[in-house]
Structures are given as structure tokens and as C-alpha cells.
Symmetry: C2
Subunit: 417 residues, 2 copies
Amino acid sequence: MPFPSSATATPIQDNPDTLLRQRARRVVPGGMWGHMNVASLPEGYPQFYRSAKGCRLTDVSGREYIDFMCSFGPIILGHHDPEIDDAAIAQGRRGDTMNGPGECLVELAELLVETIPHADWATFSKNGTDATTTCVTIARAATRRRKILVARGSYHGAVPWCTPSLVGVTAEDRAHIIYYDYNDLESLTSAVEQAKGDLAAILATAYRHDVRRAQEMPTLDFLRTMRQICDDTGAALILDDVRAGFRLHLGGSWEVYGVRPDLSAWSKAIANGYPLAAVTGRDAFREAAASIYITGSFWCSAVPMAAAIATIRKLHRSDAAAKLERAGDRFRNGLQKQAARLGLSLQQTGPSQMPMLLFEDDAEFRLGGLFVAEALANGVFLHPWHNMFLSLAHSDAEIDLALEGTARALEAVARIA
Amino acid sequence: MPFPSSATATPIQDNPDTLLRQRARRVVPGGMWGHMNVASLPEGYPQFYRSAKGCRLTDVSGREYIDFMCSFGPIILGHHDPEIDDAAIAQGRRGDTMNGPGECLVELAELLVETIPHADWATFSKNGTDATTTCVTIARAATRRRKILVARGSYHGAVPWCTPSLVGVTAEDRAHIIYYDYNDLESLTSAVEQAKGDLAAILATAYRHDVRRAQEMPTLDFLRTMRQICDDTGAALILDDVRAGFRLHLGGSWEVYGVRPDLSAWSKAIANGYPLAAVTGRDAFREAAASIYITGSFWCSAVPMAAAIATIRKLHRSDAAAKLERAGDRFRNGLQKQAARLGLSLQQTGPSQMPMLLFEDDAEFRLGGLFVAEALANGVFLHPWHNMFLSLAHSDAEIDLALEGTARALEAVARIA
């Protein structure tokens, strides 16, 4: 545990979270898996949750937080937005997982095609990983080539071709993956040369949102160069919009740059927490998309699709990206003022809708860990090394309240900095 | 369309299903994907559904069927069993997709460990494919070997290492997959020899339930030989119980044979239609399971876990496998008598809980296609070349009613046989 423990945290030896962790360790390998395993997070970080509503989250110990993680992205309107839950419940009364899709599959595909300028069609699945893997398979089917260019350190999912760990992965799982550095034209060009005539696709996240480092927006040059290479070679430009999708622009995160992908992977925020993923694509890749075999038992379930339709319609009505940006700006500006007053240097990077907060010269997250532990103790849920997320439920009042908590947390940091 | 059209089917040129298919063709590649695409199924087969309740299913045209597909497996208690939906709705009021799991994750893992004799632990995901892929990755991590033995023609999911089509798949995706024939000891032994010292796992479905052919139960010899090879080599014996799980035996489909796997993949019926998958395993594979990186945005969502807890508890209380078998037997015996009376030869194979119905000498499904089309026209939902599924909602009265429909359908078959 590299983090200093929180001075104000309550004793945790017999609280419900601790007891649940002990039970979990017996029946779940390592007590928990993946990005939701809090083993390497500051002391006091809860592992288990009781309930959520709006921008508030309550852990199993009954502690309530103003939540800036939004379930790592899925919650874009606020937890359990009544309009979305009502749409889901109404669909659930009729049918969810049936012998095939409901009408809502067609409605949702039509809505995505209307909403996303590069989308001529859509398919649906459950995980972001399903969507990125489908994009890769479509690109290979369309081009009859094999090489996929992936930015070093970018997260595209948790199966052998892309998972961040190599444990249990064979060399062949990555035989046709070539790495480049995000925003680095030289490394991109060199990766293209390495692929020679075998380039099937260039895959990139909406912007550089790797964990444990400052976020970086894509340069226009980078996006245009990728587009040009794909136009020249017939390879597919794949946008992995799983994490950023719907927060920066409803039509896809590169719309503001005027660069359009051939295929996009979506998930997380698409249905405000209901499990769904999607692939959208251009007509040129339609035939290939129809030619591959993809399927899943729950991919046609109607409830998450009804929730997605309601979510996207509400996002359209709400001028969502701009509102999320304003909320993020309010939070960022407040933090910046608090830090400046205390003589602390904060590095706030990436889009305001998905803020990342790092302290300068804090590679071991000593300051970041303490800050987050103290913020939690003061009712504000943050993450020390993963980008955070705003939702439309983050009102000015809630953000101002959160800033009262961060003020106290930053004071604790200033004492050890 | 190789099937004769149904004499009694209503005209479909302007019914809601046809209109939806036309809309779908514009916005979904091929109009639909995977196992729920009905393009190669008999005329009159619906593509889109409106609602489901108990063992009844209603398509978008308002036609109601007694459903023997159970959403291709997920529905084991009947569509929208009130007890399960109530548990899901109650959890949904508190929280679903939060910043981490709810208490129900631990409860469900504990329940699986109590229920499944070989299970010392569990992890959760969304797709059956997630579960089988996780098992393979754990086996490789545990053994530090690479080769996975897979039965030729068995379905284990829809990603490049296992999907039934090779379109968009590279040779390297299958570099370490070695095929054997289910129930064939000679081919199994030869596959093991081919793997030499590099055998990570033998993977097998609960029984042979490949599409388009008669089902086959595993021989005791086959199961024991797989177990012995894995004991001798340290490889993992992986049971893919995604399709059959919970219908044949709550403790895993091989329990009746006294052969226990090291790892099992579960999904489909685990939560009566709510999207969930699980991996269970023996202690020897716990450390490896904790060492790999797997995760998904919705893998910790609480609603499907609450539904799974309620489902498994109800299955325990209901003596489910025996009841499903009796229901399946009643259906089978009725069909057999009807066919015999008409001089038709039916091939009914596999467990009664998951019946497969083929006509003798009907490789092109000419008779099967007509039978299913006529059954649909008479209110009975069947499949011509995929195994079917019983649920606890299939009461004697419903099965007897279904048999009235199949009697008329078989008469139509007898006229052309």
C-alpha cells in the first residue's frame, strides 16, 4: 500500500466493506478483478456499493459520496435517471431477452445512424471489448489483410489481443498487432511501413486517456494523417469511442476535428448504465460486417436498447457535451484555485467532461493517493490515476459542495507536500 | 430458401415483421447477425418479437407461440418469472452499474461455490464467450503452456479463436487450437500427442450439442479419459456449460457422471434472461485466475447478479433438472406417437431438457423446415436445426396444447414425405 493513510478516515477493521472483502477473498480470486479491484487504491477506498442516485453514490458502509467516476463512464445522465429507468422498466414488462430482437433494435440502429455522421449501420453487443474486437474482425474481413496498428498504452479491452497484461496471452495473440505512439506521426508512419501491404486497420482511442499519465487530446495532424493513410491504403480507420463516446460530441469524438472514422466502437455511456455496446460503420464496410460471425446470448436483449434510445434522445435534447464541459470546467477551476492558494501544482488534463487530476512530481501517487483518500473521507469520490467522468446530474450546487470536500483534502496534501 | 413454404401461413408482405426487416436491412449489416438471424430459416419464421411471458412468446405481428427455444437457453424458469423480475427490480431501485460491485457479487459467488461441487471460486462477466475465453486464458496462465484442445464442430463463442466462421480470422488466432472429435478417444489421444509438452487445457461442451446434427451424450470413457489426461499432465479440464448449464444438474452437467472439471464456463440460464456469465474453478487455478487481467464495464452490475441469486435459489427449491426432464419427455413422447401414427421417422436426441428434433434422411431440412413452419403457423415455436430448450413454465397443459399444434404440423409433413 504505497499511499499514506487518511488521518480522518474511520476505522475500517469491522465495517461492512471490510467484512465483505474477507468473504470475497474466499470465493473470488484475488478478492476482485480488473479495473474495479481497489487493492492498489488508497486506504478507505470502498470495494462494495449499496446504492446510487443522481451524482450521489453510497457504499456498503453507508458513506455517501458525490461521485466523479460515474461507474467508470456508463453513467452520463446521473445514476438511475428516472426517464431512462422508466423506459427500461416499460420495455422489461413486455420483453427483454427473447428469441430475437424487439423493434427497439431497429429504432436504436436508426437513431445511431441519424446521430453519428459516419455511421451508415450499427450492430450491438455487450462489452466495449466486443465492439473493438468486432471492428478489428470487420477490418480484416473487408481488407483481407491482417495488421492492426494500436497505440502503445491505449486500452482497447481485456481479451488476449489487447488486454494490458501478458499473463495467459500467447505471442500469436498479438502476432499482427503493431504498436505506434499516440499523436506521434513518425512512429505511426514507421508502423505503417512495418505493416507493408498487410495493413487492415489503424485503431485509436478518441484521445489519449491512458491511466497513470496526463491526458492528451489528438492533434489535428495525427487524425488527418491516420485518415490519409487509410484512404491511401484502403485500411479501416477505427475509432475506439468506448470510453469517451457521447461525452465530447454525440456524433463521435472526432467530429470537432472534422475527421471521420470508418468504424467506431461504442459502449459505456450509450444506455446510462444498462449493458450495451455498439459498432457503427460506413457503407464501405457493411458487406464485411455482414460476412463475419458475431453473436451473443444477450446481444439482442431489448431492455438495454430501450434505455439507449431514451438516453441518446435525452442527450440530444440536453446539449449534453456543452453542459458536461461546463460542469467539468466549474470543478476544475475550483480545484485550480484551491491548489494555487495552497501552493500546490495540479496537472489537470484532457477534456473537462473527463478530467484527469495529477500532482506534479508525484510519480508514485503519494500526493494523489492522500488527496483521494481525504476526498473520500470528505464525501467526494475521485480516482488517483484514472480519468474521471462528469454527468448531467452534476449540478453547480453539487460541484460546489464537492469543492468544499476537495478544499479540506487539498489542505491535508499541502501538509505533507 | 430451401424450405417449402407453409400452406397455412398468412401473407407476410406487409406485416409488421416484414416492414421491420426492410428497415433493419438499411441500418444493420445483412439485416441481422449471428444465431438470431432468421435469413436461413423457414418462411414465416419471425425476426422481431414484441413480448414474452411464461412459456408464451408474441412476435411483432401479434402471433403468439408456445416457445420451445427459451431465447436460445437463457429462459429456464419461464419468461419474466415474477420472483426473478421482482428481485431484479428491487436491486435496480438501489443500484445496478456502480463504481464497483454490490454485496450481491459476493452472495452469488458464495451460492455458486455451495451449488457446484468443483467450484472453489467464481468470477463474472457478460457473454458466454467471455467465460470460455477467460477459462482458456486462466489455463494458459496456470500451466504456462499454450495448446487448447477443442472438439471439432463444438460451439464455444464468437471471437476469432473459436467463432464458427473463418472470415476476418487470422491463422495465428487458432495457432494453438488443436481439434479432436467429441467422444472419440483415438482423436483425443492423438490431439494430446500433437500438443506434446505444451498442453494447457482440454475444452469440451457438456455434451455434443452441435447444430444441424443429432445430439450425443458424452460417454463415461470420454469424460474419464479427459480427466485422466489432465490429471497426468497438469492441464486444465474445462467444461463449457454455457448452453446446458443448470438444466441437466445444478452442480454442473458432468455431475451425473462423477467427472469434475477444473474450470467451468457458465452463462445463458444463470439469471433467467438477465445478462450474466460466470467462470467457476478449483483452488488449484485460483492464483492463475487472479493473475490474468479481465474486466468489463458491466461485469459488476448488480441487477443481473440479484436475478441470478433468485434464479439459482428457485432452481434449488424446484428440483429443476428432473422437472424439466419430465416436461421434455412429455413433449418427446407425444411427438413420437404422432410421428409413428403418420409413419414418419423422427430422430429425437440429447437430453429431454434440451431436445433436438430431426427427421430421418432430411439432410437439407426439407421436412424439418416444413414442420417448423407449420408448427409456427399452429402456434408452436420450434427450431429446425438447433437444439431446443424446456423451461419450468412448460406445464403439462401447455405441452399438450403444443402437441395439438405439432400434430397438425406433422400431418403437413406426412403429405410431402
